[in-house]
Amino acid sequence: MSLYSDASLVFLPRGGAGKDGKAYSMKPVPEYGNELVTNGGFDTDSDWNITSGTDANISNGKANFVNAAKGQRIQQNFSFTANKTYKVILEVSNYTSGILGFYMGGVYAFNNVSANGIYTYYVTPVNTAEVFLRAMQTGVSHNFSIDNVSVKEVVTPSADFDFSRGSNLTATRVDSNGLIEKGRENLLENSVWDGVSTDTKPTGWSNQFLSGTGTFDVTATEGQIRFQTLDASSRAFIYSPTITTNGIVVVSVYVDEVTTAIPLSYLLSRSGSATFLFAYEDGVEINYSDNVQAGKRYSVVFNKTASTTFRFGVGTSSGTLGDVVLSRPQIEIGLVATEWITSPVGSKGFAGILEDSPRFDYSGGASCPSLLLEPSRTNILEYSEYFEDSFYIKDSGVSATSNQIISPEGLQNGSLISVGSNGRLYANHTSGTYISSVFIKEGTFSHFKISGQNVDLTTSPISVGSLDFEDYGNGWYRIYGSYTGNRGFQIQAYPDNTYSSHTDSGNYYIYGAVIEEGSYPTSYIPNHSGGSVTRNAEENTTANISSVIGQQEGTFFLDFEFLDGATAENQNWIALESEDGQSRVLFYKSAATNDLRLLITADDIGVFSKSNLVAISPNTRYKVAVRYSSGEQGVAANGSMVGVNGTSTYTRTSLLSRVKFNESNIQPSCRVHQAIVFESGLTDSELETLTS
């Protein structure tokens, strides 16, 4: 028998299935009833009624609100049942103003749509009265179109997790290649250069400048612009939208053709408040004043301190003559250019970790991912990858050079630290108690004092004193430990394990420094700014799925790791629960000790509680399963029954309706490998098998 086939809900991150705002469950497979809407595609002007106003129509295959006031409706009556759940889908286009709502049986499925897009909502009507689309905003003309309206009964609900974090630029994971993946963005709107015609700048770009014979135009290849001057005193430039993001940024562009000797500094420049740092040709450092060549990608790193526009084109006051064809511009935070990201008109481009995408993490060389769930943390170290900045203080003989080695990110953005003695590289910060971490790789030196502890990278495993470490492969280690004071980042390098003062020359590599409050290091938090940055905690829950959760009997299985080494925070509550919290099947860590506990309640009455299910340690995988059936509760941990209770009976009216990995707003601090729900109570033997 396969226990999995009997499960009503199966969440396995190994599928890596998710998108921005969703983590998909493998079971149940959702099922829906018949289509209830007639003519949802508005192919004809029939089946719908224009009510409560006359500023709407059906034409051109859409329902259209045209300068409609609040209250305007487009209505259709069809049969549905109160207190059942329905899935509503529709598409909004041609949006310019107002707010759209969808009303069904006494409640709004939504009342806040204010942009083009395809929308999916679930609604549970409370009566069987009317259904309508409605203009919602007071004192505003509503102008938009609606198409492809669909309403179907939810026979079997989806148990996908709604997922939110609200952080992309400070959220990272270890991907399936063992490399750190970040959230990336192309700060340039319209990086495909839509809207360009002869001497007309791309849509949304801020300006253009032409003088003399200077001109620009599209080419036969989409996304390219040809800039041209016929004499040495002319110019042809376009100017980016204003880039407000400050800190370390990389501006890059592909030079597809060039027929003139034009320095990179003329082809790609910027307004003030952006200090030039480095220039690269296909990743190889060059002088900013070097001439560009065809078939190359050029990137320039700046430290921005205020809003800036960037300029692309040909011609200078000192004179150039000829053509240059450019494409794929990008502006991104960081020290090196990454893969080009398409951005449409009116929007930046995004890639990698998105604001609300679940992080399926492969840390520690895992072959299968786990869902990484972390609390909010702030990296107070400025410029966490740019150690040349004066924020990092170098004793005499110590220097930092950026972008000298492939980092744990798989990019050439690791820094070389050269020393001529045991001088320090350090940073001062606000005094406090922190976890400090940094990635380090040996160069000619392999011995270090990090936060005062002797670190030897030549032993196996490496020796780190009272600190701890994680192996990131390719010679990189993340060294971390707790620190109290105002200098949590400090490294000294030595030629041998005597750690004696010396005047020898040597080097090593570092990347990604973090100082965060807490008891353990969370995933790397990049910071390319001159301030501190925060990654928000992850929140997640399923929709109402009470129909696939057993109420009077059932089983909840959890396969997870605990991340927190402290005993007094992050209780890490993971639960089956009711919307009102009156009913719970809850696993949680004691606030006082590192033991895992179980609590079962029905309608706010305790049914069964059990402490010391297992003593839990950070970064260790545990499997626990509870049978919560009335009159027959039992719980197993790691293959053995650890508690039974055959006396407590209950009748639950506050229905278990969702799975949540951060119950009661407790910030999560764990990795989830599996979460499975059965509608029946498994036997003791089955619980032991499941948790083995």
């Binding site: 952080s167 407000t244 500094s265 910027r270 604001e355 940055v533």
Partner: protein, 122 residues
Amino acid sequence: MYITRKYEFVDEAEANKAIDLLRDEEGNLTQSIVKLGYIVKVAGEYDEEGNEVTAPVLSEKYAVDVSWSGEPHADWESAIVFPTPLGVHSFGSSSQRDEYAKTYCELFPDSEYCNPPEITEE
């Protein structure tokens, strides 16, 4: 949709009173809050051992940043401030940074932040 807003209070006690408004029935916070404290206006000086030689000059106000998931709490409105984006701290969110910068420039359209200088030749 999250939005960033920045606040200043007389002291930490006042900040904590406001923060307590954002707790659920079980006392857990419902919003992402970063207590920046008394922001350093002028950095301190330290000797080679890290001992303070010159104390940093701190703001007289206690600063708190909030990443609101939804509308900001009305009772926080009186403490709101709008330093130049993104100040000494930011949430690592593209949309929050953009929204804050847009709001700032609507409030202070003539500010230097919202009016980048002309491009200069290298």
